[in-house]
């Protein structure tokens, strides 16, 4: 049941992208997402596509592996495309009953689809090449300036990394409780939706109780090990920029400038 949930999945291999500083990858992904909305013409999309293909090549992650992660998003993509096709006002092409596919709609839908696909590929490339831990470290560091505005950046990233650590444990626990309830006659596979939802109650209640108990234990264990927020805290693995990271930033800047140039040139 929970096998297909792949949160922050990391593909373990060695590549230039894997070795980059996580902050570079985080900022790079954001920059790429923004530039997808800067370009708006066929040459622009081809340019963005080539850049993405080059990155995938550099990452050493098999292309098929990345595509497999796309399948679950396909449904959302189709719905977006259909809605855009039918609901954008403009010059009608085909009429089906009361709805009509408009020319503007088709163009908009295609553009949207390309953007979405690139967007998902781009961000999954980041999670595939960055461990969740590096990612939370990067977030803490990138959002660091917000500390001055009293945003609890350290606490948020600590919470994220604890959550990531406990996902497999809680999943295992869910599995155990499920089996225990099945042994007592619970039916999680009923065709009847109402019954199926009702069956979740005896699953969720013990799961929540146990999660709270774990949280309590963990908080105590952290205190016992002198945890007191980020005051006076040092880092075992501090983030340090290397030469390759600066190169990556330079390439990133060049990429954005090219996108802007394409847009201005009217392509």
């Amino acid at each position: 049941m929970f096998k297909d949930i792949t949160l922050g999945q990391y593909y373990q291999t060695d590549s230039i992208l894997h070795r980059l500083d996580p902050r570079v990858k985080l900022i790079g992904t954001l920059v790429y997402l923004v530039s997808l909305f800067i370009v708006r013409s066929v040459p622009g999309y081809i340019f963005a596509g080539i850049a993405l293909a080059a990155l995938i090549r550099l990452s050493n992650v098999p292309f098929r592996y990345i595509i497999r992660g796309m399948k679950s998003i396909m449904m959302i993509l189709m719905i977006t495309v259909l809605f855009n096709m039918f609901l954008t006002p403009g010059e009608p092409l085909i009429r089906i009953w009361k709805l009509s596919v408009t020319r503007e709609g088709v163009i908009f839908a295609i553009r949207m689809a390309i953007r979405l696909v690139f967007l998902i590929l781009g961000s999954s490339l980041m999670t595939l090449t960055t461990t969740p831990n590096q990612l939370t470290d990067a977030l803490e560091s990138v959002l660091g300036p917000l500390k001055k505005l009293h945003v609890p950046v350290h606490e948020i990233s600590m919470m994220m990394s604890i959550a990531l650590r406990f996902i497999p444990i809680l999943m295992e626990e869910t599995d155990k409780i499920m089996k225990a309830q099945i042994a007592r006659g619970a039916d999680f596979e009923s065709k009847n939706l109402k019954k199926r939802i009702a069956a979740l109650v005896p699953l969720l209640v013990p799961l929540f109780i146990s999660a709270f108990r774990r949280a309590n234990d963990l908080a105590m264990a952290m205190e016992a090990r002198c945890y007191r927020g980020d005051s006076g805290r040092t880092k075992m693995k501090p983030l340090v920029y290397k030469k390759s990271d600066y190169t990556a930033y330079a390439i990133m800047t060049a990429f954005v400038l090219c996108c802007v140039a394409l847009r201005i040139a009217g392509f």
Binding site: R165, D217, L218, R225, C226, T234, P238
Partner: protein, 291 residues
């Protein structure tokens, strides 16, 4: 030299309050405990469920403060806010559930968590992590996810996490309760090695009698008081008293005791098979002629 742990007239009440903050009920978990533990000792604390042994453990790490009485850890009062972090660094704590005390997603990161908190420089953290993982024999698992380890291995990682803070004393609150027999052995072996080699004071809270026989001193708790104390031999000699406290004595000790009651002249407080064999040989020499 300071005593590692010095408790005088320690009392702890768990107070439950209603919504308006009025006291609804009081449970006295610890009721006047005096405790002296010298540095370098291996101490076992025994007791059935609800005897107050876990509450006692939390006092030794300043996770709880006394209702009455005082607790001094290496001469520092646990109620003294300014010493709080020093106490927690000096007296590390291992809990029962191995999953609920590992914070890092990789073994080495978890071991580094404590040193990070007390502000150890990066380079020294790495040295401490390596040395602590080696001390518990988990160095080759340093880059594994804790979820892939067995219970005993996880507890050893937790122990390494505490050692990396360079404590003088480690309090283990039923560290083996959720482990299988081989995991239990791993953990106890690691604890004894730390006591032997590093001279770290170990306070082992357990309800497995077999783990207590290695201790320098055993304290048996009942209803928040120390009911019995002494060397393992002295404590386990009181077979009837132990049974009164709903505690078992090690199987061999019980066997020797029963044999003694049915007429054999055996000394009390036999702790292992070899001792029993020796005692039997001198009590009934004729039975061993064939050997």
């Amino acid at each position: 030299m300071n005593l590692m742990v010095k408790a005088r007239g320690l009392i702890h009440d768990y107070v439950s309050r209603d919504e308006d903050g009025n006291i609804e009920g009081k449970i006295r978990a610890i009721d006047g405990v005096d405790l002296d533990i010298r540095p370098g000792q291996f101490i076992a604390v025994l007791g059935h469920n609800g005897s107050g042994k876990s509450t006692l453990a939390k006092h030794l790490n300043a996770l709880l403060n006394p209702t009455e009485g005082t607790v001094l850890i290496d001469g520092k009062d646990t109620t003294d806010e300014s010493e709080l972090w020093n106490i927690r660094q000096e007296a590390g704590m291992i809990f029962q559930n191995p999953d609920n005390q590992i914070i890092g997603q990789i073994v080495e990161e978890d071991v580094g968590f404590g040193p990070e908190n007390i502000g150890v420089p990066t380079k020294e953290i790495w040295e401490r992590v390596e040395e602590s993982l080696r001390a518990v024999g988990m160095y080759k698992y340093r880059s594994k996810s804790p979820n892939r380890l067995s219970g005993g291995q996880k507890q050893r990682v937790s122990i390494a996490g505490v050692i990396a803070m360079h404590p003088k004393c480690i309090i283990m609150d039923e560290p083996t309760a959720m482990l299988d027999p081989s995991g239990r052995k791993e953990v106890i072996r690691a604890a004894r090695a730390l006591n032997d080699v590093e001279k770290i004071t170990i306070i082992l809270i357990t309800h497995y009698m077999e783990e207590a026989i290695y201790a320098d001193r055993v304290f048996v708790m009942d209803h928040g008081r120390i009911a019995l104390s002494g060397t393992p031999r002295e404590v386990f000699s009181n077979v009837e008293k132990m049974q009164e406290l709903h505690l078992d004595v090690p199987y061999v000790t019980l066997l020797a005791h029963q044999l003694g009651r049915s007429g054999l002249k055996l000394p009390e407080g036999i702790l292992n098979k070899e001792e029993l064999k020796e005692a039997l040989q001198s009590a009934v020499p004729s039975a061993f002629i064939g050997e």
